[in-house]
C-alpha cells in the first residue's frame, strides 16, 4: 500500500502527459509533404471538349467514368479544376456553351448544370423531368467554326443561346444563360426510343429520329424556336432494326437491320422518309458474321465492325454505298471537327504492335491525309480506346492537329507533332485492390541515389540545420532547409530501409493493370497490363494476393503477387491466375483455369520456396489447391482436416460453413481438386433480416498480448481467434436510404459467429437502426458504424469479446507451478466461455470506409482510421471506443487510461491524417505495418491517392527525423575540447600553486 501511494503522483504525471499528447497527432506546417504524398486523378475519360478558340490558357474539358468533370491544361496535362459528382450522378454529356460555360447533363438526363469555364464555379443548375426514363442526349447548336461566328448563331431567342436536351422522353430547350427551360415537348408515341436529335446547320428545325416497336422508324420535325411539332412521319421496315444509328448527314442516317447483314440508308429530306437497302455482302466481299455500327458523326462516312475488322463506308448520293477502307487492327475514330467553312476533319488511331498510327483526314476526301504519324507507344498501355481531335494554326498558317487519346489502361495522352506531349495515368483513379511488397535489399551497386554529394555540401546542410535549431536562420535559410528536407533523395531510394518505411504498393486497377508505387514519393516504379491470351480475350482483374514473400531461406527469389482475374463479366466465367514479380513487374507465369473462382483462401502455410498455398473455391463448391506441386500437396494433406471456410449467400441471407471432404469425384482425375461438405448453416429469416456487412480479422494481424490488465489488478483474456466473423443484418425494409422507414420497422442485428463450428457467440439487436453498416474487426474487438433513426444521428458501437475459460489463471502459484492452461491447445469444438462488452456512441460523420492501424508486433495502441464523407481520413484513438468507459471512472481506472464516458466521439481537427487535403471519391484505406513498431503506413485510395506514415502512440522507439546528429556531434566535440582546455588550465594553476 505504501508502494502504491508512492507511485500515484508519478502515474498521474505520466497519465497527464499521455492524455495531453497522444490524441493530438497533428503535423507542423513544415512537415507536410515530408512523409506523405497526394496524387490527383480523374478516371477514364468518356468525353472531351477542347476550348482553344480564345487566347489565354488552352484547356480541354473532360468527363470521366468516375463522374469527374475536369478542366485540364493542354500544355502540361495538369488539372485546372475538377468536380466529382456523386456516384449516382453519372455524366451523360458535356459541351461548351457560348465559349465560356461548360454544360453538363447528368443523372440519366435529369440534371443540367453550367459551370464557369475559367474557374469551374457552378453558374446554374436545372432539373429536367420527364414521363419516363430514356436515352439522354445533349445538343448544343454548333455553327461556329471559330469564335467570330459565335455571334451569328441563327438559333437565338431573345439573344439567348439555346441548349437542346432530350432526356426522360421529353425534348427540352434550355437557355444557356440562366438554365431556364424555354419550351418542352413530349412524344406521345408509346415505346418510342429516340436515337438522334439533329439540327441541320442554318435552319430552325430540329429532327428527332428513333425507333418505335423495333420495326418502325419515326421522325419528328420540330420548330426550334417554340417547340411546335411541324411534321411527324413514320415508316415500317418489316425485318426490324438494330438499336444503333450513324448520322452521315443532317438528313440521312444509316442503320442495320435486326440480323446485322443489311445496311439501311434512311433519308428524311423534306420530311419524307425513304429507305435504301444494301446487303453488306454486296459491298464487302468476304464478310461473315453480323456487323455492328461504330457510333461516329463524320459527314458522309460511317464505320461498321464485322468480327474484328473495321470497315469505313462512304455514302454517295442517293443511298449508294462504297467501301473506302478496311482496317484489321484495333481502331478508334474521332468525331468530326470543322476546320473551315466546308471542310470537316476527323482522326483515326490504329494500334500496330509497339506503335500506334495516327491519321487525320478530311471527311469528303478519304485519300488525302492531313496528318500521318507513327508514335512509339508503351506496350503496357494496350490499345487505343478513344480519340478526340483538335486543330490549331501552325506558325506557317497551315492546320495542325493535336489528338487526345484514351488507352486501354485508362491513361490519357496528348499527341502533337509525332510525340507524346503529356500523359496521365488515370487508371489509378479506379483501384480495386492493394497489397504491399518489400523493396530489394540494398547491395553494392544497387544504391541508386547518392545521398550527399561532397563533404562541403554535407557540412553546409548541417550548418543550416544547426542554424534552424538555434533559431538563427533567416527566412531564406528556412526555405532552403525545407526544400532540402522535401527533396531528400533518401526517401525515394529503390532499396529497403532499416525502418521499413520504403515499400512498394502493388495496386490493381479496374482496367486490369498493375502498378507498383513507391511509398517514398508515390512515383510509378513499373506497370503491367494483364495479358490477353488465346483463351481469354478480356480478363477482368478481381483480387491481388501475396504469392511469394521470401525471407529466411529463399532470399534469392524475388517476391511475387498473384492476380486473380476472371474471363468475362459473368461470375461463373473461368478464372485466370497471373504471377507477377514485384521487383521487375514481369509476368512470371499465367494460368488459364478451367473453373471459375468464387472465393480465394490464402492458407497459413508456405512451401520451401515460400510460395503461399492458396485454396480456390469454384462455383460448384470444389476446392482447388495452388500451387500444383507435390510438395504443396504434402503440406496440404497434413492440414487437411483443419481447414474450414465459410460462404455468404447474400441473396438469400444464408451463411454456410464448409470443410474438405475428399478428392474430386469428377470424370477427370485431379489430385489438387477436393470436394467440400457443409458443416453448419445460419439461416436468417428472410422477412426480418438481410445481410448487409460481413467482416473478418486481417490475416496478417499481430496481437502482442492476450491478457488485458484491469485497474483492479484483475486480468482479462482477450478472445483472440482468427475464425471470428462479424455479420450485420438489417431489416429488408430498412435496407434502402436513410429516412425511408420509421424507427419501428427498422433494426440492425450484429452477430459474432465462429466460422469453424458456426456458433453464434454474440448477438445483439439495435432497434431503430439502419444501414449502411461499416465495420472493422481487429484483435478481440469489432467497431461498426450505422445510423440511429431515433436519435437522428450516426452511431458507432464497439463489441469486445473476452475468453472466460482462461480467467482462472490469475493465481501466481499456478503460473509458477505450471498448473495453468495457457499453453494448452484450444479446440473450437469446446463450448466457448466468452463474455462480451459493448457500448455505443454518437458520431457526427457518415463514413465511407473504416480501417485500423496495424503495426509490426501489435504493441502500439490502435487507432481507427475513418474515411469521412468529406473524403478525409480521421484518426480516432481506440481508447474512445472502450466499452469500459463510464461517466465517472474511478481513480484506478483513470490511471489505466480510461476516458470518462461522453455520448459522442470527439472529432479533433488536428487528428485528420489527410490534414488539408482531400482524397476525392475515397473508397478504401489500407494500413501496412512498417518494420519500426511505432509506425504504420496508411494508403487511402479513391479518385485520388494519399499516403502517409502514422505513429498512433508517437514515435517512442526512434528519434524524430529532424534530430540533428551534427548538433550532437558538435556538442560532444565542444565538451571534449572544454575538458582539455580546463585540464590544461588547472594543471597550470596547480603548477603555479606549487611554485608559490
Amino acid at each position: 500500500m505504501a508502494i502504491r501511494s508512492f507511485f500515484v503522483p508519478f502515474l498521474l504525471l505520466v497519465l497527464w502527459f499521455y492524455s495531453s499528447l497522444s490524441p493530438v497527432l497533428s503535423l507542423y506546417e513544415d512537415q507536410v509533404g515530408l512523409m506523405d504524398w497526394h496524387q490527383q486523378y480523374i478516371g477514364k475519360v468518356k468525353q472531351a471538349v477542347f476550348s482553344t478558340q480564345k487566347t489565354g490558357r488552352r484547356r480541354v474539358i473532360v468527363s470521366t467514368e468516375e463522374n469527374v468533370i475536369a478542366s485540364l491544361d493542354l500544355r502540361h496535362g495538369e488539372i485546372f479544376w475538377r468536380h466529382l459528382l456523386g456516384s449516382n450522378d453519372v455524366i451523360d454529356g458535356i459541351d461548351i456553351g457560348l465559349g465560356k460555360y461548360v454544360i453538363t447533363l447528368s443523372s440519366g438526363g435529369s440534371i443540367l448544370r453550367s459551370w464557369n469555364l475559367p474557374d469551374g464555379q457552378m453558374v446554374w443548375e436545372s432539373f429536367l423531368q420527364g414521363p419516363k426514363h430514356s436515352k439522354s442526349l445533349l445538343l448544343l447548336p454548333k455553327h461556329e467554326i471559330d469564335c467570330i461566328n459565335v455571334v451569328q448563331t441563327n438559333l437565338k431567342i431573345e439573344k439567348d443561346n439555346v441548349i437542346v436536351v432530350f432526356s426522360n422522353d421529353r425534348l427540352h430547350a434550355v437557355s444557356c444563360i440562366d438554365g431556364e427551360v424555354l419550351w418542352k415537348k413530349d412524344f406521345e408515341t408509346e415505346s418510342f426510343e429516340t436515337q438522334q436529335v439533329i439540327q441541320p446547320p442554318g435552319s430552325d428545325l430540329i429532327y428527332v429520329v428513333g425507333f418505335a416497336a423495333s420495326s418502325q422508324f419515326e421522325m419528328y420535325q420540330i420548330n426550334a424556336r417554340n417547340g411546335e411539332l411541324l411534321k411527324h412521319e413514320s415508316a415500317i421496315f418489316s425485318s426490324g432494326f438494330l438499336r444503333e444509328l450513324s448520322l452521315v448527314s443532317s438528313e440521312t442516317v444509316v442503320a442495320l437491320d435486326s440480323t446485322g447483314s443489311i445496311l439501311l440508308t434512311i433519308s428524311f429530306q423534306n420530311g419524307e422518309i425513304s429507305f435504301q437497302q444494301t446487303p453488306i455482302s454486296n459491298i464487302v466481299e468476304d464478310s461473315s458474321g453480323p456487323a455492328v455500327i461504330i457510333p461516329s458523326s463524320v459527314p458522309g462516312i460511317f464505320a461498321i465492325k464485322i468480327n474484328s475488322v473495321t470497315i469505313f463506308i462512304r455514302v454517295i448520293g442517293k443511298g449508294k454505298l462504297e467501301v473506302v477502307e478496311k482496317l484489321n487492327q484495333e481502331t478508334a475514330v474521332s468525331n468530326a471537327l470543322p476546320i473551315s467553312e466546308s471542310q470537316q476533319a476527323f482522326a483515326l488511331v490504329q494500334h500496330a504492335g509497339s506503335e500506334i498510327h495516327l491519321v487525320a483526314k478530311l471527311a469528303h476526301d478519304w485519300d488525302a491525309n492531313l496528318l500521318k504519324e507513327s508514335i512509339k507507344m508503351d506496350q503496357q498501355r494496350g490499345i487505343p480506346h478513344k480519340v478526340f481531335i483538335n486543330n490549331y494554326i501552325r506558325t506557317d498558317r497551315s492546320h495542325g492537329f493535336r489528338l487526345l487519346i484514351v488507352m486501354e489502361d485508362h491513361s490519357l495522352l496528348l499527341l502533337q507533332q509525332g510525340a507524346i506531349v503529356w500523359s496521365r495515368e488515370d487508371g489509378l483513379a479506379s483501384i480495386i485492390d492493394v497489397t504491399a511488397s518489400e523493396l530489394p535489399v540494398e547491395r553494392d551497386g544497387v544504391s541508386v541515389a547518392k545521398v550527399e554529394h561532397n563533404l562541403f555540401e554535407w557540412l553546409k546542410g548541417h550548418m543550416l540545420k544547426l542554424k534552424g535549431t538555434l533559431m538563427l536562420a533567416s527566412p531564406e535559410d528556412v526555405a532552403a532547409i525545407q526544400s532540402m528536407r522535401l527533396k531528400s533523395s533518401e526517401k525515394s531510394k529503390m532499396a529497403r530501409d532499416h525502418n521499413g518505411f520504403r515499400k512498394l504498393l502493388i495496386v490493381l486497377t479496374r482496367a486490369g493493370k498493375l502498378f507498383a508505387l513507391h511509398t517514398g514519393d508515390g512515383h510509378i516504379v513499373w506497370s503491367h497490363l494483364l495479358h490477353k491470351s488465346e483463351a481469354c480475350q478480356s480478363p477482368v482483374g478481381l483480387n491481388l494476393y501475396q504469392w511469394q514473400v521470401p525471407h529466411h531461406h529463399a532470399l534469392d527469389e524475388n517476391p511475387s503477387v498473384l492476380v486473380i482475374s476472371r474471363c468475362g463479366p459473368s461470375s461463373d466465367a473461368p478464372g485466370v491466375l497471373s504471377f507477377v514479380d514485384t521487383y521487375t513487374g514481369k509476368e512470371l507465369n499465367s494460368l488459364s483455369l478451367d473453373h471459375a473462382v468464387v472465393q480465394v483462401i490464402p492458407l497459413p502455410h508456405t512451401d520451401s520456396t515460400e510460395q503461399r498455398l492458396h485454396l480456390l473455391i469454384d462455383s460448384d463448391k470444389h476446392a482447388h489447391l495452388y500451387p500444383k506441386t507435390s510438395e504443396a500437396l504434402g503440406i496440404f494433406k497434413r492440414e487437411f482436416s483443419n481447414i474450414y471456410w465459410y460462404s455468404v449467400e447474400d441473396h438469400n441471407s444464408i451463411i454456410k460453413g464448409h470443410a474438405l471432404k475428399c478428392k474430386c469425384t469428377g470424370e477427370v482425375a485431379d489430385e489438387f481438386c477436393f470436394d467440400a461438405r457443409d458443416l453448419w448453416s445460419v439461416v436468417f429469416p428472410s422477412e426480418s433480416e438481410k445481410i448487409t456487412a460481413t467482416v473478418t480479422r486481417k490475416l496478417n494481424e499481430m496481437v502482442h498480448t492476450q491478457a488485458k490488465v484491469m485497474a483492479d489488478q484483475d486480468v482479462m483474456y482477450k478472445y483472440i481467434s482468427r475464425n471470428l466473423l462479424f455479420v450485420a443484418t438489417v431489416a429488408p425494409k430498412g435496407s434502402g436510404e436513410i429516412g425511408s422507414v420509421t424507427p419501428e420497422e427498422s433494426w440492425l442485428v450484429a452477430y459474432l459467429i465462429d466460422i469453424v463450428t458456426g456458433r453464434i457467440l454474440y448477438r445483439v439487436t439495435h432497434h431503430g437502426a439502419q444501414g449502411p453498416v461499416h465495420a472493422v474487426f481487429s484483435e478481440n474487438w469489432v467497431v461498426y458504424h450505422f445510423f440511429n433513426l431515433r436519435a437522428h444521428r450516426y452511431e458507432m458501437s464497439v463489441i469486445e469479446i473476452y475468453d472466460q475459460s482462461r480467467a482462472d489463471n490469475k493465481d501466481v502459484w499456478k503460473l509458477v507451478l505450471g498448473k495453468h492452461n495457457l499453453t494448452s491447445r484450444i479446440s473450437l469444438f469446446s463450448r466457448p466461455e466468452v463474455i462480451t462488452k459493448s457500448q455505443s456512441y454518437f458520431f457526427t460523420h457518415s463514413v465511407k470506409a473504416i480501417a485500423v492501424t496495424s503495426t509490426a508486433k501489435g504493441i502500439t495502441s490502435k487507432q481507427l482510421l475513418i474515411g469521412t464523407i468529406g473524403d478525409q481520413v480521421l484518426a480516432l484513438d481506440k481508447r474512445f471506443l472502450d466499452p469500459r468507459r463510464s461517466v465517472n471512472p474511478t481513480q484506478a481506472e483513470k490511471e489505466e487510461g480510461i476516458i470518462p464516458l461522453t455520448d459522442s466521439l470527439p472529432i479533433i481537427p488536428q487528428s485528420y491524417v489527410t490534414h488539408a487535403l482531400r482524397v476525392e471519391g475515397l473508397r478504401g484505406i489500407i494500413t501496412v505495418p512498417a518494420k519500426l513498431e511505432s509506425t504504420t503506413l496508411v494508403f487511402a485510395h479513391g479518385v485520388d491517392l494519399f499516403f502517409t506514415q502514422l505513429a498512433p502512440s508517437r514515435t517512442y522507439d526512434s528519434l524524430t527525423e529532424d534530430f540533428s546528429y551534427a548538433l550532437l556531434l558538435i556538442t560532444i566535440v565542444a565538451l571534449v575540447a572544454a575538458i582539455f582546455v580546463t585540464w590544461r588550465l588547472s594543471e597550470r594553476k596547480e603548477l603555479q600553486d606549487k611554485w608559490r
Partner: protein, 297 residues
C-alpha cells in the same frame, strides 16, 4: 414504495419465463397491468438462457389476449456424409402475443434412442474422427421453412460417460436462426479414440433470443460541460508541499550534495561542471523506472 421493491424481482423472474424477443413490444403490452406501472424500472435486456430441463412449473399468468398452443418439430441427424434421418423431436409451447408476435417457450426435447445400426455408424465416426451432424427446420411452425439449419461436431467431442450433447437454439420469433451443437464442456484437442460406456444421450437445450443493444448514452448539457472542462486530470486533494514533492526533492538534494562534496573534495578539478550533466539523466531514470513498471502492471 416498499411494496414496489418487493415486486420488482418478482416481476423480473416472471418476465424471464415469459420472455419474448421483442423486448420493447412486450413491455408495451404489459403496461396495462397495474403491477407494471413502474416507469423507468430496470429493463432486463439480456435473454437468460432458458434451461428447458430444469424449468420449474410456474403459475400460469398471461394476459387474456395471449394464447398458446403446442407445436413440435423434429431433429434430424446424419453420420458423416450420410443422409439425414429423424433423431428426436422438440416440443414447445407457442405463445401468441396480442400484437401478433409469436414466441416459443418451454422447449422440451425427447431423443430417440440409437438403433444398432446407428451405433455401428457412430462407432465408425469415432474411429475416423468424423463429424456427427444434426439439423433443424428453419421455421418451427411450418417445417422445413426456407432451409434447414445445420450444425456439426466431431463425434469424439460428445463422449463422456455416455453421450453428452448441448443444443443452443437461436430464435428470432418463431424462426430458428441457427443451432449450435456440441459437447456441454470442453473438447481437448488431441481427440482420443474411446467408445461410450452407455449409449444414452444426456441432452441440454438452451433457447436464445437476441439481446437488446444498450442505448448510446445521452447526457445533459451540464455533464457535457463538465466533461469538456475536464481537459486536465482531476486535482488530487491538497497536501503539504513536502508530502507532494518529497520524491523529487530527495534525489535533487542528493545530487546537490554529491556535487557539493565533489567540488569540495577536488576543488582543483574544474570539470565539475559535468557532475550536474550526469546527474540529470539519473534523475530522469528514477522517474521513468517506476512509471513504466506501473504501467505494465
Amino acid at each position: 414504495m416498499k411494496s414496489v421493491k418487493v415486486i420488482v424481482p418478482f416481476l423480473l423472474a416472471l418476465s424471464l419465463l415469459s420472455f419474448s424477443s421483442f423486448g420493447f413490444q412486450s413491455d408495451e403490452l404489459l403496461v396495462d397491468d397495474e403491477e407494471f406501472g413502474l416507469e423507468g424500472s430496470p429493463q432486463h435486456r439480456s435473454s437468460e438462457p432458458v434451461l428447458t430441463r430444469s424449468q420449474p412449473v410456474t403459475r400460469k399468468r398471461h394476459s387474456d389476449l395471449d394464447s398458446d398452443s403446442k407445436i413440435q418439430f423434429s431433429l434430424d441427424h446424419a453420420f458423416g456424409d450420410s443422409d439425414f434421418s429423424p433423431a428426436g423431436t422438440f416440443s414447445a409451447r407457442l405463445k401468441t402475443w396480442s400484437h401478433g408476435g409469436q414466441t416459443l417457450t418451454k422447449l422440451r426435447f425427447s431423443r430417440n434412442s440409437f438403433t444398432d445400426e446407428n451405433k455401428e455408424k457412430f462407432k465408425n465416426l469415432l474411429k475416423s474422427d468424423d463429424f456427427y451432424r444434426i439439423r433443424l427446420p428453419s421455421k418451427a411452425l411450418s417445417p422445413p421453412g426456407r432451409d434447414f439449419v445445420i450444425s456439426s461436431v466431431k463425434a469424439r467431442c460428445l463422449l463422456r460417460e455416455g453421450l453428452d450433447e448441448h443444443f443452443v437454439i437461436h430464435m428470432e420469433g418463431v424462426n430458428v436462426l441457427a443451432v449450435n451443437y456440441g459437447s456441454p464442456g470442453s473438447c481437448p484437442y488431441p481427440r482420443n479414440l474411446k467408445f461410450p460406456a452407455k449409449w444414452s444421450f444426456n441432452s441440454h437445450t438452451v433457447l436464445k433470443n437476441s439481446e437488446q443493444a444498450p442505448r448510446a448514452p445521452v447526457f445533459t448539457e451540464e455533464i457535457l460541460g463538465d466533461e469538456n472542462a475536464e481537459g486536465e486530470v482531476v486535482q488530487p486533494p491538497e497536501r503539504p508541499f513536502w508530502a507532494k514533492y518529497w520524491m523529487y526533492l530527495i534525489p535533487l538534494g542528493l545530487i546537490v550534495m554529491n556535487a557539493v562534496t565533489q567540488a569540495m573534495n577536488m576543488p582543483e578539478e574544474q570539470a565539475s561542471g559535468q557532475a550536474p550533466a550526469q546527474g540529470q539523466p539519473s534523475a530522469g531514470a528514477v522517474q521513468r523506472g517506476p512509471s513504466s513498471a506501473a504501467r505494465r502492471r
